[in-house]
């Protein structure tokens, strides 16, 4: 169902006017560039991190604490499993949304999604920065293999 916002109430309102999507909605055709680079227009792991992930996980992967928290990535042993990270990005986890590509927008703004190459690249970036030194990289094909196993929510 189409949601109302804070009235936008937040409000919503707002309906829809989310951004660069007017034109995209016109034809609803995905261009080759979009298919390759997703809504972000980049496949670069660092770029993806700094445009999306760091909103919550913060610059430097340091995480943050308020009434709740965002996990830090810096020197985080949980990052040992690249598959775990990929599954989390694909399926979402609690407050973190799923970044899997959906056929239909479920909300009044278009979904943010990452393709398998982008997911692999950002995982590899995180696992080799912020004081992490995991040497095994995950590939787009390995991310792709996780799609079927994990039901998306």
């Amino acid at each position: 169902m189409k949601m109302t916002a804070f009235g936008a109430c937040m409000s919503i309102v707002l309906f829809c006017m989310a951004s660069s999507t007017w034109a995209a909605n016109d034809g609803a055709k995905e261009t080759a560039v979009e298919a390759a680079n997703g809504v972000l227009g980049t496949r670069d792991g660092e770029q993806i991190y700094s445009q999306i992930c760091q909103g919550c996980h913060m610059p430097g992967g340091r995480g943050a604490i308020g009434a709740g928290y965002y996990p830090a990535f810096a020197k985080n042993p949980r990052l040992a499993s690249a598959n775990y990270m990929a599954a989390t990005i694909l399926n979402g986890r609690r407050n973190m949304p799923s970044f899997v590509h959906r056929q239909h927008d479920e909300f009044f703004f278009p979904a943010t999604w990452l393709n398998d190459t982008q997911i692999a690249n950002v995982i590899n970036y995180i696992r080799s920065h912020f004081g992490n030194h995991f040497s095994d990289a995950i590939s787009a094909a390995e991310v792709a293999a996780l799609h079927a196993k994990e039901p998306s929510k």
């Binding site: 916002a5 308020g66 709740g68």
Partner: protein, 536 residues
């Protein structure tokens, strides 16, 4: 319109007029009810729970709208009520940032709002639809003064950076031209027999008449430059008095350009049930509602209390919390029952011994990314230069929305705009910026709609909801699938704990969702307490 539909040869309205004239207003009201025009309200004003069992107590987590509605009503019924609130203020997302206020987001960046006295921005909810009778009822009860919120302004802009050379169009002209072209096409289809199967000859005449009026078509059912279209889309030179009185008509935009622009996408926004006039806002900022609740509840609210553990057993609910003024400190609050309004984005990270169905429901709802920006300018140039008094301009740029103040028209001082209301991927990008970068981006983008921005801008603030320490997100993003699977489990009582808030409603992000979910939750709480009270 339905009420103009004919009832045995006479319009409903005509029938009612006749009844009113001949039989008086009571008879007319009865007739209106039977015709479905004046239904009794289903909102029974403020709830009346009845009387609490002797000694019964309730612990409420969160002093947002849901928590404070619950606190007010439960106290009235005689429950011993305590409220724990993470922030040093009440209201939650009901919040107004005014000059001098400071706000520290997650990650540690602090902004101090530099607005002049009387100017403000509502980072969260900012409008109250007339049919949100719950929240409006509390405004009335708590003496929160309301004023009109201007949702629709025909002179505000619609802007696409890809259309019309990036030149903003007036809502008035886009709407008039869209209706005009659609009306002309439909009139043509009608008069050339294309609708003969669907529409009777008699109805075709009525349809043509309605299209001519609706679409501002000329006597030949064409949408053309002239008096008819000018009366909707405005003029190149407005009619006036004296020697220069004669209007100069304006030229409608061609259908293809209009369709190509995509601007039509924003036209129905004001037709949505939640966006239809009349909308209202509290005088002085939405935060006035939370402030009024807080005054009413006084010392019932314990501020700066960060909940770290929620535990229930046969005897009651025990909540551990930290006094954030003394990091590491531990306190406990106990009660017979718990109304938990903590956003799911946070609740999912707090140990709580509820059953698997509620646990799964709490974990099933990610929160929307959204960013709002307030920008102060040296003067109200949108009024002085562009004759925009209140309302909203829409753009396909990431800021998406520019909203003009609904009050204080012709003020000679400074003015504050909602300079951006960002959603989706753009909101994630804005969230990832520093507050200063967000404001700079909003000023740069807004300059494409209002070239006065660079010279008139003074200062700005932003709230990126995923960095709000007390919500970690804007509102709960349910899908049809997650609602099907988890919504009822989220709302059902689990032992002594019930959840409330916009996330436990079908009005996501609206304060009315918080109010109605709280009222529903405490109604069920009271029933349980009364049943238990007899045996406890």
């Amino acid at each position: 319109m339905r009420d103009e539909a004919t009832t045995s040869g006479m319009t409903r309205r005509g029938l009612l007029r006749m009844i009113g004239m001949t039989a008086g207003s009571a008879a007319m009201y009865q007739a209106m009810t039977s015709l479905g025009l004046a239904a009794e309200t289903t909102f029974n004003g403020m709830p009346d729970l009845g009387t609490a069992p002797k000694g019964a107590s309730v612990l409420i987590l969160g002093a947002g709208i849901a928590g404070m509605v619950a606190a007010l009503e439960l106290r009235k019924a005689g429950y011993a009520v305590q409220v724990l609130e993470y922030n040093a203020r009440a209201g939650g997302r009901n919040w107004t940032l005014r000059g001098g206020d400071s706000y520290t987001e997650m990650g540690g960046e602090t902004q101090t709002c530099g607005f002049d006295p009387g100017l403000y921005i509502n980072p969260g909810p900012w409008r109250l639809p007339y049919h949100h009778r719950g929240i409006l009822g509390y405004c009335k009860q708590l003496g929160v003064a309301l004023e009109p919120f201007i949702q629709i302004n025909y002179n505000a802009f619609m802007h696409s950076h890809r259309a019309f050379g990036g030149k903003p169009q007036r809502y008035r002209t886009v709407r008039a031209d869209y209706h005009g072209h659609v009306g002309e096409l439909l009139a043509k289809a009608t008069s050339t027999g294309k609708l003969d199967v669907e529409v009777s000859k008699e109805d075709q005449q009525k349809l043509l008449a309605s299209l001519q009026w609706w679409g501002a078509l000329d006597k030949n059912y064409k949408y053309t430059k002239g008096m008819d279209s000018g009366d909707r889309r405005g003029y190149d030179r407005d009619p006036g008095g004296g020697l220069k009185a004669r209007p100069e008509f304006s030229t409608p935009t061609g259908l293809s350009d209009l369709l190509d622009s995509g601007l039509w996408q924003a036209l129905p926004l004001n037709e949505l049930y939640d966006m239809q006039q009349t909308l209202m806002q509290p005088v002085g900022g939405m935060g006035k509602i939370g402030e009024a609740f807080a005054r009413e509840l006084g010392s019932l609210i314990r501020y700066q209390a960060k909940v770290v553990d929620i535990h229930q057993d046969d005897s009651g609910v025990r909540v551990s919390y930290e006094d954030t003024a003394k990091p590491g400190s531990r306190h406990e609050a106990r009660a017979d029952w718990c109304v938990c309004t903590i956003p799911l984005s946070i609740l999912g990270e707090i140990p709580i011994n509820v059953g698997q169905p509620m646990t799964d429901a709490i974990a099933a709802v990610p929160y929307a990314a959204s960013v709002k920006l307030g920008l102060q300018f040296k003067r109200r140039f949108w009024e002085e230069d562009e004759q925009i008094f209140g309302g909203i301009s829409y753009t396909d740029l990431p800021i998406s929305t520019i909203s003009y103040p609904s009050s204080g028209f012709h003020g000679s001082g400074k003015g504050v705009l909602l300079g951006g209301y960002v959603w989706g991927t753009d909101a994630m990008r804005f969230t990832a910026m520093t507050p200063a970068q967000r404001v700079a981006a909003a000023v740069a983008q807004g300059s494409q709609i209002h070239p006065q921005y660079p010279t008139e801008f003074e200062n700005g603030v932003s709230v990126a909801w995923h960095r709000a320490p007390f919500t970690l997100g804007c509102f709960g993003l349910w899908t049809d699938a997650t609602r099907e699977q988890h919504y009822d489990n989220l709302c059902k009582f689990d032992g002594r704990i019930v959840l409330a808030g916009e996330h436990a409603s079908y009005l996501p992000a609206w304060q009315e969702g918080a109010v109605t979910s709280a009222l529903d939750a405490i109604d069920r709480l009271h029933q349980r307490a009364v049943e238990k009270g007899a045996t406890a």
